[in-house]
Symmetry: D2
Subunit: 258 residues, 4 copies
Amino acid sequence: MPTTIEDGDNVFIFLDVKRNWIRKVKAGAKFHSNKGIIEFDDIIGRPYGIKVESHSGTIFQIHRPSQNDIQISMGRATQIIYPKDAGTIVNEAGICAGSRVVEAGTGSGSLTWVLSRIVGSEGHVYTYEVREDMYNRAQKNLKRFADMDRITMYNKDVLDGIEERDVDAVVFDLATPWLAVKEAHVALKPSRFVVSYSPTIEQVMKTCKELGEEGKWGMVKTLEILERELMVREGKTRPPTWMVGHTGYITFARKLMV
Amino acid sequence: MPTTIEDGDNVFIFLDVKRNWIRKVKAGAKFHSNKGIIEFDDIIGRPYGIKVESHSGTIFQIHRPSQNDIQISMGRATQIIYPKDAGTIVNEAGICAGSRVVEAGTGSGSLTWVLSRIVGSEGHVYTYEVREDMYNRAQKNLKRFADMDRITMYNKDVLDGIEERDVDAVVFDLATPWLAVKEAHVALKPSRFVVSYSPTIEQVMKTCKELGEEGKWGMVKTLEILERELMVREGKTRPPTWMVGHTGYITFARKLMV
Amino acid sequence: MPTTIEDGDNVFIFLDVKRNWIRKVKAGAKFHSNKGIIEFDDIIGRPYGIKVESHSGTIFQIHRPSQNDIQISMGRATQIIYPKDAGTIVNEAGICAGSRVVEAGTGSGSLTWVLSRIVGSEGHVYTYEVREDMYNRAQKNLKRFADMDRITMYNKDVLDGIEERDVDAVVFDLATPWLAVKEAHVALKPSRFVVSYSPTIEQVMKTCKELGEEGKWGMVKTLEILERELMVREGKTRPPTWMVGHTGYITFARKLMV
Amino acid sequence: MPTTIEDGDNVFIFLDVKRNWIRKVKAGAKFHSNKGIIEFDDIIGRPYGIKVESHSGTIFQIHRPSQNDIQISMGRATQIIYPKDAGTIVNEAGICAGSRVVEAGTGSGSLTWVLSRIVGSEGHVYTYEVREDMYNRAQKNLKRFADMDRITMYNKDVLDGIEERDVDAVVFDLATPWLAVKEAHVALKPSRFVVSYSPTIEQVMKTCKELGEEGKWGMVKTLEILERELMVREGKTRPPTWMVGHTGYITFARKLMV
């Protein structure tokens, strides 16, 4: 990837934690905010990581969008799996370069995006979404940022069956994940992980109950991840007053062979 | 990777959260524990994910070791970067398939292992360790589990300079990370992340102070990750009484171009 | 205390967690909100704990204000020591019925209020506030709700000296608590607690450094309290998305006799 | 209370967080530990808060036992309501000097002890315990430390009815608190709090369901309290590696008048 800002690049324009944008650079066009205007021609050809001053005197940073910047941008309109949870899903399930992963539902596509980055060109992400509006929105999001060669999108209900076999991981973000657990068992390689993300405790209880049936799953475990910032400012270091107190529980289980 | 247990495989033998082992399968040999003996010949040729009964009647699960199983096993003798923190480092810094990453110090090699899995065969991990005993131990750990084509190990002090240029991320787990920040700036591509993991607040304060100098770094942020289990047992669902309350703080900053 | 609502009572009018008010009941007058009007004459003489319907059809609960309702109401305009922290201060320092307690600064009076309830008619709270505006505001707050026989208010700087001797506890909520630690030692009975509440880590470090000098204090300990709600709703039980991530650190130390 | 150590006093002998003892001072007798012997005659007549050296050269602090020291000592053999939770129960329910409080079950008596300190000589604690062994143990604990004039102990099942009426608060630490909720409603003054402490989520769900019936209770709320230490040591300030991750959930509700 280039380290110089080019016409057509997506750039991350950063003022502060609440005011930042991903925009496509277009020669001759401008970025408008209530903190002033930046002309794209002023940044084309310059390196990423520069500071630029808007016409009204505010300093913005121009970055190459990070994986997280893009993930978060996809969730602005809907609920997404937060970076803190995505990191734990990937890590605990051992998803890595070359993995073949099934995901359902696609939602905004934000986790699909992360998974496609991790599995790389030698792996693949198969993602199922039953709702057509979500499917279309996710496709639009992903086409903008992701390498679509690594992604297969289905506009169908994962409860009707997973097409793939011998996959390395199955990740659910579903309203009723317990109904899909049997499908995950069929699709997975032995000893690999099904992962289920759910906001409520009742969902977790039902999923764990299903996972506990018939000795089909081992090492069932449910985690929640709390991320806390430490604001390091000279003489007044402290965590922020408000933090995200809950997103969802993440349940992991490993396929047993009976 | 095969889904059948073969002679020479590393297997994960699981009894419970505290009693589990990674062992190399050897035809004709036995696994011994105080819960009985398993003969490797009884599992060779069978699929991963089976349950086997020891001679004394205890049921063990035999799994393919997951990324985390291996990461944790490397840390049994020293301190490691925990999975919860490794997941956040990888995710926030946008490390993915194809990334070229510098790490210092190598420590037990547990994070090197995780990074080598994520960057894949198209990426690379360059890891620096000043202490010879640690370097040797990490090399032994990594040779057992990792694809060494993806890893370059240096037995030298990262404060003496990073050899690489235009890398996608630099990750520090050092006693004095603030002294190494300048090296990271030289090695990184513009807009990419330096990450520093430190157990104490004084280390974080010094690192953030250095990162705040001269406008060389943007979007400085320090996080801590708390992972909490929810033990879902019918009629008695609750978090466990004890949890890990602290491992380290993780500081992120993005290279600015002055 | 009466269990019937009387003319002149302070009542707690509750709609939901964000919309609730403490109001003085006045015969012939009305309570106005954007969810409708309640005539005080409709509730006078009825028991506390009733539900009443406003003219526009919204149901409100009418409660006797609890200790916490009043504490929180005092803090609406300034920062207060939160209930979660007040409970820990009282409990760890062993403040109870009959205790004589020194507090500085008074702030809004919200902790003074809590302390005056706990120490009762046989104890006493001595509270110091250097700022005249705060002193006046706290006095107004306290006169409305507290039994002033139990409270002595000083509009003076606690750094100029604590008047009292042989007190059971000293509680600081000061910008520079480390400067006041010597005064606390003079005022306290042997083996009793000084407590210091501070939002920032640098304040805590300086205070603990002062407490560590010369062997004057034992069992120095710093706590932070995280309070997390569990929203129990049938089929969708979960913690709320946002929580208070930080208020302050509370440092405790016990007076040693050299 | 005296500030000089007297024959017959209970003293708190402190070495560190894990090694500390409450012992009765007895002229002519000795305190034995594996860090050496202290002769009580060497401390009688001296002030609380002193440091003394054992015969083998270890320094101990001698303190007047604090409320928490005693509370924790009562729980050494059984499970207790932790100080962090006791503080929140007292504070949220507005229990203070003069309150009349019902508690069930008594358990080890550790919460009874805290409540008796808070309600003072003008209040009272009525405590119910169905198990005779627990009742006897709690009585022994309480007779050693508490003012028994403030406490009425019943060896009976609270489900068979609460004797008291018009009490200021009811606090449950029961296996099946939802069965006792009706009794609490009868015993309480209008608008006052029932409090229920339970380790498991299923208990909380059942209790909240019962509290939600028939409009008898308002402002139902469930909290959990996480207490985290910050170990402030020069150059290595950090939270401890392990913390208590869960004790119990605390549910509060306010009596409505139908």
